[in-house]
């Protein structure tokens, strides 16, 4: 991964930074051991670090709560811990996720999601507890908690803060291996934990430093929070939001199998398959092996789909009956005492939920596609595309199928059958458009006239009878929307593909192809910024024609060799273009060799991804450096007597310096989030590309 062997692999470095920022030093110490040494047991971590067993266990619990690491389960003698790189990296997206949810489901759902993100998986009952505290008297106490919380925020979220909340649930979730059970908290800390969560729900200010930093990304969200009332009016409303999020696939239930690393999962599935289908002995023949491979893949898919199954919600009954029936027994069994003051306990209260990371990628893909369309075809078409994509989003659990079966040899690829939920029609979109949306904008006036059949287009391309979008009938609206979708379909990127006539015109979207184009577009963007139009031209020529020697390159680009040589060299050095020398004679003379240049998009993609990770690390390092420079002032500003009286206790110069630090931090973080967008495009929207 790294060019220089002395360096830590860049992703490990990045993720360690992120963990440290979000969960504090203890968790980061444990995490970095795992990052450097790979899969480890508890004892091995203890050997590799200077921490004692108890500290390590605390660290591991935090990491497990956040699903940043896997563990190998309770069945085996020793439990191994292993990093989940995807979700570790996802820490950078905390703020973005809240923003995405806010756009789609409103600020209340965003509030729920951001709490899920900060505290990792959470029991629904604890959610209820946090939003609707059991005893009203504790409200006074919670004020203290807020103070505590603010203190924590200044000190950066060190382990204890998160520990409380994590400890709160880990007794209930069996996801924590038995060897960590002794970190399980006593009942008093359990209530404390609830109070901490409570304090958080009261004010976003108490969320701790890390939370604050990454939530800064959602600037609009913050504004929205101020304007709209985020507090839930009733328990039912909270349940409604949770149910919606689960149904749409944004939140999923936590099961023990989600803690298995991909390797462990594979072993488990393989063993199951061997036991069930091959009566206990591993298959030897090629055919049997392939059969087993398919069976394993199918099991994995099944398991994954199970995670997303929506649990049955019982909440149609009235509160009284619910509290009298089943739940009582459950409460007794679990030995957890619920105070019935705020809503009755429900069977689903014991469900443990977490954010579904795959859905986040789907939503990010939507945003980026809309952005691209806005650049190419204008804002009106982009808005229509956004509606299209969001309608499809609900039925799209993930960006691409990573467990697809290899095609069966000899069997012709049967024509792609499209599920009806992957289709979207013009009429449905037209209905979703706001009344005063100017659907005509961005279209050829002639097209508008041909639909409305009123007036004509003057020679200056002005309509003789203007069309007020507020007064277009639904039929015409549909046709106009269809025109926009046709623009999308005609684009060389084929943003939409025609499917049938249902609902005036029905479309589907070939995400796979578009994702490839997106990756290519980002590579080209990068090269354009570095080397200008000439570099992009070279890349495109090579992509189209394959391996070229100098003369063929000149012909494709219609330029002289001298103009091209420099750019080929630069791009080769940067790793975007590969060169190859094929000797024609035995002596391998340079003169008698073919010198080919080619472009491999998978390599370019990986190289750019690697560089982007490195760029993100540098930004985080720079933030740390900038903070270090201003640290004395920051500690002063965070003193409890200074907070709120900044004008009084701080000099003009100090205030300016604080302001400057804020700007610098904001600028760096914004850039970090934009680099994350690039990472999403390069990594999350498409599986590995087959090299040419």
């Amino acid at each position: 991964m790294s060019y220089n062997q002395r360096e830590t692999p860049i992703l490990a470095e990045l993720c360690t930074f992120l963990v440290e920022d979000v969960y504090g030093e203890l968790a980061a110490r444990v995490y970095s051991v795992l990052a450097r040494h790979g899969r480890q047991t508890l004892a091995a971590i203890a050997r590799a670090s200077y921490l004692n067993g108890r500290q390590i266990k605390y660290g591991l619990v935090i990491l497990l709560q956040q699903h940043v690491i896997f563990h190998s389960g309770n069945d085996a003698l020793v439990t191994y811990y292993e990093i989940d790189w995807q979700s570790s990296y996802a820490l950078v997206r905390l703020g973005k996720v809240a923003k995405l949810v806010d756009d789609r489901f409103g600020s209340k759902a965003a509030d729920v999601i951001s709490h899920l993100l900060t505290f990792g998986h959470t029991r629904i009952a604890d959610f209820k507890e946090a939003y609707f505290p059991a005893d009203v008297a504790s409200d006074d106490d919670s004020n203290d908690d807020i103070v505590n919380g603010t203190g924590l925020k200044r000190k950066r979220a060190n382990g204890t803060h998160v520990n409380e909340t994590s400890a709160k649930t880990n007794g209930i979730v069996n996801g924590v291996p038995s060897e960590l059970e002794d970190v399980k908290p006593d009942p008093s800390s359990l209530t404390n934990g609830a109070h901490a969560a409570n304090g958080i729900s009261k004010s976003a200010k108490t969320n701790g430093n890390a939370h604050e930093i990454y939530m800064d990304g959602a600037v609009d969200l913050g504004d929205g929070l101020e304007k709209e009332d985020t507090a839930f009016a009733s328990v039912d409303e909270l349940y409604d939001v949770l149910q919606l999020l689960i149904q749409r696939g944004w939140v999923r239930t936590v099961t023990e199998s989600q803690y298995l690393s991909p390797g462990d999962m594979h072993d488990k599935m393989q063993q199951e398959t061997i036991d069930q289908e091959f009566s206990g002995s591993a298959p030897t023949g090629t055919k049997d092996k392939e059969k087993m491979h398919r069976a394993i893949l199918q099991k994995k898919r099944h398991m994954r789909d199970q995670w997303l199954e929506v649990p049955r919600f019982s909440r149609k009954r009235s509160a009284e009956t619910a509290s009298q029936n089943g739940p009582n027994k459950r409460i007794k069994v679990n030995g957890v005492q619920h105070q019935p003051t705020a809503g009755a306990a429900l069977p689903e209260d014991d469900l443990v939920i977490r954010v579904n990371p795959e859905k986040i990628a789907v939503a990010m893909r939507t945003e980026q596609l809309v952005q691209l369309v806005e650049q190419r075809l204008g804002s009106v078409t982009a808005h229509i595309y956004q509606i299209m994509l969001r309608m499809l989003e609900n039925n799209t659990p993930r960006c691409y199928e990573n467990l697809s079966e290899p095609p069966v040899a000899g069997e012709a690829a049967n024509d792609i059958h499209l599920e009806p939920q992957l289709l979207v029609d013009a009429r449905a979109i037209a209905k979703k458009l706001p009344r005063d949306f100017d659907v005509c904008e961005g279209l050829d006036p002639n097209a508008v006239v041909s639909i409305t059949r009123r007036g004509h287009v003057r020679s200056s391309n002005v309509l003789s009878q203007p069309v007020d979008p507020n007064r277009i009938g639904m039929d015409h609206r549909t046709e106009l929307v269809d025109k926009h979708i046709r623009l999308l379909a005609e684009d060389p990127l084929h943003f939409a593909t025609w499917h049938s006539r249902a609902g005036f015109s029905q479309w589907h979207i070939e995400f796979d192809e578009i994702a490839k184009q997106l990756i290519q577009a980002e590579v080209e963007n990068t090269i354009f910024a570095r080397k200008g139009a000439l570099g992009v031209k070279l890349i495109r020529a090579l992509r189209k024609k394959g391996k070229l020697d100098e003369r063929a390159t000149c012909n494709a680009m219609m330029m002289s060799a001298n103009d091209i040589r420099g750019i080929v060299n630069d791009l080769t050095v940067q790793g975007f273009v590969q060169t190859q020398e094929i000797p024609k004679v035995e002596r391998r003379e340079a003169k008698h060799s073919l010198h080919l240049v080619w472009y491999d998009r998978q390599r370019a993609r990986e190289k750019l991804l690697h560089d982007t990770y490195k760029g993100m690390v540098r930004i985080l390092q720079r933030i740390a450096f900038e903070r270090e420079k201003i640290q004395p002032l920051l500690s002063k500003a965070e003193r409890s007597d200074v907070i709120g009286n900044e004008e009084k206790w701080l000099s003009k110069g100090e205030l300016d310096a604080l302001q400057k630090w804020k700007e610098v931090q904001e600028k760096l973080l914004l850039q970090l989030f934009r680099e994350d967008d690039l990472v999403a495009t390069l990594r999350d929207f498409h599986g590995p590309l087959i090299s040419v």
Partner: protein
């Protein structure tokens, strides 16, 4: 093939007519030559044509006459579909040929055979089996006698191709209309591609003024009130966000390009026809292949985009801000020492001058 022979034929004809009356006794061979010369230039004569000229009494005599003319290099023996045929050479050319050494003649013969395609000196040597010294000497003398010319091949830039002086090198070795002297004519390509870009834009796009659909005045106050109500009102979470799409200004003086509704997308053929009808390429015509090469290049340039297999259209961009991506817009993306940068040491995030410039803060001094 035959056209370049013409200039040298003209004096010869005068010659013949001048000689005709003064010198009554013309040899039958010359008579035959003159008769042939009266036909249009470049004509190929078959035995049948020549006997019809009634110069020779018998077939045997005709054969002798033709042999004599061929020996004097006034005629050139060729075959067409297995049948022998003859072609005239101008007297001046024939004169030059007569003075050639046998080696030179041999080489000339081979160069003549390939016509406009030209022949590489190495291939020539392989065919004629002469030594390198002889080859160089003979080719030099042929060139100095204005019988052959050498051209640099476009396909193989280090090869010297030989062909007859009066011929125009074929496109294989001299390149298409976009090349001159074996190199791409950048100025010409720029000019032509701009013209083509404009042409395709006219075909596929339509310029729409800002006020094209002027459906009523916008009341700013009402709009603000509306927006407020939208933001404050309780929103159904099923709804799309209450953000109103950006309304472009309705200024009639501004205009923007949009894609035409069901246009005729140009193809290489149609653009080539258009270009040839404009006669922009002085004296040259642009074939379909040449045009395809140019259009494909413009696609690479990002000025055109390919719609389907053969159709092109203009690339439009709705926004004109230049934003690349998160990585290259940060200092690291364009950093010349990015690969040398490490966690600590002389080049690191702490000491980075580029970060310092970008953030307007101080970096650590090394």
């Amino acid at each position: 093939m035959a056209a370049p022979v013409a200039p040298s034929m003209v004096p010869k004809e005068e010659d013949a007519t001048a000689q005709g009356p003064s010198n009554e006794i013309v040899s039958p061979a010359d008579a035959l030559y003159d008769k042939c010369a009266q036909r249009s230039q470049g004509t190929v004569f078959f035995q049948r044509d020549l006997s019809n000229m009634q110069v020779a009494e018998t077939m045997a005599e005709l054969t002798v006459l033709l042999q004599e003319l061929c020996d004097r290099h006034l005629m050139k023996l060729m075959t067409l579909e297995g049948e022998p045929c003859w072609k005239l050479r101008s007297r001046s050319d024939a004169d030059k040929l007569r003075r050639l050494t046998p080696d030179e003649r041999l080489l000339y013969h081979h160069i003549d055979q390939v016509q406009a395609e030209g022949i590489w000196s190495k291939a020539l040597r392989a065919r004629t089996n002469v030594t390198q010294q002889v080859l160089t000497k003979c080719l030099k003398s042929l060139e100095s006698k204005d019988l052959v010319q050498s051209v640099m091949s476009v396909k193989f830039p280090n090869r010297k191709m030989y062909l007859l002086k009066h011929l125009k090198p074929s496109e294989d070795i001299a390149g298409g209309p976009w090349q001159s002297d074996g190199d791409f004519d950048t100025a010409l390509i720029d000019a032509i591609s701009s013209a083509i870009a404009q042409h395709i834009e006219n075909e596929t796009c339509i310029k729409v003024p800002g006020n094209w659909n002027d459906y009523g005045q916008h009341d700013m106050a009402a709009e603000i009130a509306h927006k407020k109500a939208q933001v404050q009102g309780v929103q159904d979470i099923e709804d799309a966000p209450a953000v109103k799409p950006y309304q472009p200004p309705r200024d009639p003086s501004t205009s923007k390009l949009v894609h035409k509704n069901s246009p005729q997308y140009p193809t290489a053929t149609s653009v080539a026809t258009w270009l040839n009808s404009k006669e922009v390429l002085r004296g040259k015509t642009c074939r379909e292949d040449d045009m395809e090469q140019l259009l494909e290049m413009m696609v690479l340039d990002g000025r055109l985009e390919k719609i389907s297999g053969t159709n092109y259209r203009t690339v439009l961009s709705a926004t004109d801000k230049t934003v690349y991506n998160g990585f290259v817009d940060a200092p690291c993306g364009n950093c010349p020492v990015f690969d040398l940068c490490s966690d600590e040491g002389e080049i690191s995030a702490r000491t980075c001058v580029y970060f310092g410039q970008w953030l307007e803060t101080q970096s650590e001094e090394v």
